[in-house]
Symmetry: C2
């Protein structure tokens, strides 16, 4: 017991931490369709045909962006990540509003913060959502800056796709190419897959933020299934090997499972299939709290 | 111009920073009733009788709570502050759901985070809202911990009270007593004024988080009016002088303006009146970025 009290977050890693803290959370089942565990929380609205989506996310200086990075791109990234999570809930998912919380040292430059907001505004205008407020708090001098966002969106109820819907026999597919996002700068300029329409009806879907090697096992666990990957079939960005495509992270592409192989012109690539047990174990990917 | 580029957040303070960054934010007027500038953002819902409320807030170790503070109380405070902002929007305002983002060093104890969540759960059960998810990110060792919350609530449209509704001739009133919150520990255990019913119809309302000396001028600016305070009439906690009641902050009481004096048994105390110009200038209160 006393040993348990000294366990740190790096001892158990991000997924176990989240499992620990989201255990037995109070959920009002008359309102909440899905709590934590998917790309977004899902809540009922007064319109029986529409669900509300809610997503919190945060980026930290020198972890998600390097000091000296163009702050306008940092602002874009901060909110575009949440838009990507909205996109992962289904074809008609769209962002509605966002709240921004910034935590900066007292000597942080106002001009840089204004540039963050310029990037956020650009993303809001592109994807048609409102920046409705936020909060600012101070950190000790020398602390990394942090931008925390909370996005509300909505989706037509019939279009909702969760991580938990994958079934044995489904094919696994991804939009776009994977790997090299941070090194190439794509992590600062990616376009969230809002309105992505492969004319398919995915059984399960999520966005790829921590790398396929981290995210596919999450989808499989949520669905209670395994997977068999065809590693050579994973679409890779130029200069990326399979390992990079699996573990670099920050791809912001959609990972989905489909009941049958998609047509050639669908815009997604088949990379494997859902099995009963894990046939191609993978590891790596991004963990905020890895040692 | 080059001088402007070197302005820091402590040079201009919190209110000017927020004014700077919320300038010209994109707002979809078909959805957004009120953006930043009030206790909560207000959005239309599919039910014409109900508005959605959205609030982001954050607390930082050694700023909003001291290291070593009972973490269960820290968790309560983190979410109760947002509940207080919901309460400030009107009599029928109620929280629905919250997303939690924690930023901690890799060597942060899991047991402490679990205690934060125990306090958040206690608040969620008391005020009947759901904890629907969140995010965790890592900070460098030695960084203060940060808890960022995003709360969604709702209110019957007819009950909505904004900061901007005060009119010359209104009386100014507060619920409860002010001062000494941090020193006494009340900042960790306060009960948000959800369902507070003085059987009055306030013309304007906000919650007192940064101190009356900071918050009343904000309400007056939003309404385009002045104020005359009767300093001796401000209800004070034991051991607090007028200055403490004005500037200590973290009261989490409701500040409101009323078209006429409330009855004796209303549970609010009249502390002044709304005037055309400021007759009793006040200063002080909490500013995250003051030098």
């Amino acid at each position: 017991m006393s040993e348990k009290l000294h366990i740190t977050v790096s001892d158990i890693g991000e997924d176990a931490l989240i499992k620990s803290i989201t255990h037995q959370l109070p959920l009002d089942s008359s309102r909440v369709v899905e709590g934590s565990g998917d790309d977004c929380a899902v809540l009922k609205t007064a319109d029986p045909e529409v669900y509300e989506l809610q997503k919190a996310d945060a980026i930290v200086e020198n972890s998600h962006f390097l000091s000296g990075t163009d702050p306008e791109l940092v602002g874009w990234k901060a909110v575009a990540r949440a838009v990507s999570d909205i996109a992962a809930m289904g074809i008609s998912a769209r962002p509605v509003s966002v709240l921004i919380t910034i935590a900066v040292a007292k000597n942080h430059l106002v001009s840089e913060i204004n540039e963050w907001y310029a990037g956020m505004r650009r993303c809001a205008e592109k994807f048609n959502f409102s920046i409705v407020g936020g909060e600012s708090v101070s950190l000790p001098e020398g602390s990394p800056a942090l931008i925390s966002v909370a996005m509300v969106g909505e989706i037509n109820r019939a279009d909702l796709v969760l991580r938990s819907g994958a079934r044995v026999g489904d094919v696994i597919a991804v939009s776009g190419k994977l790997g090299g996002s941070f090194q190439s700068g794509r992590h600062l300029s990616f376009e969230p897959r809002i309105g992505f329409d492969p004319k398919l009806r995915p059984t399960a879907m999520m966005d790829l933020s921590d790398g396929l090697a981290k995210d596919l096992p999450r989808l499989a666990r949520a669905s209670g299934v395994g997977y068999a990957l065809d590693f050579e079939a994973i679409p890779r960005h130029d200069g990326c090997d399979v390992k990079a495509a699996l573990t670099d992270g920050e791809d912001y592409e959609l990972l989905m499972t489909l009941p049958e192989s998609p047509p050639e012109d669908s815009g997604v690539a088949v990379i494997g299939r859902i099995t009963e047990t894990i046939e191609t174990p993978i590891e790596g990917g991004w963990d905020h709290f890895s040692k």
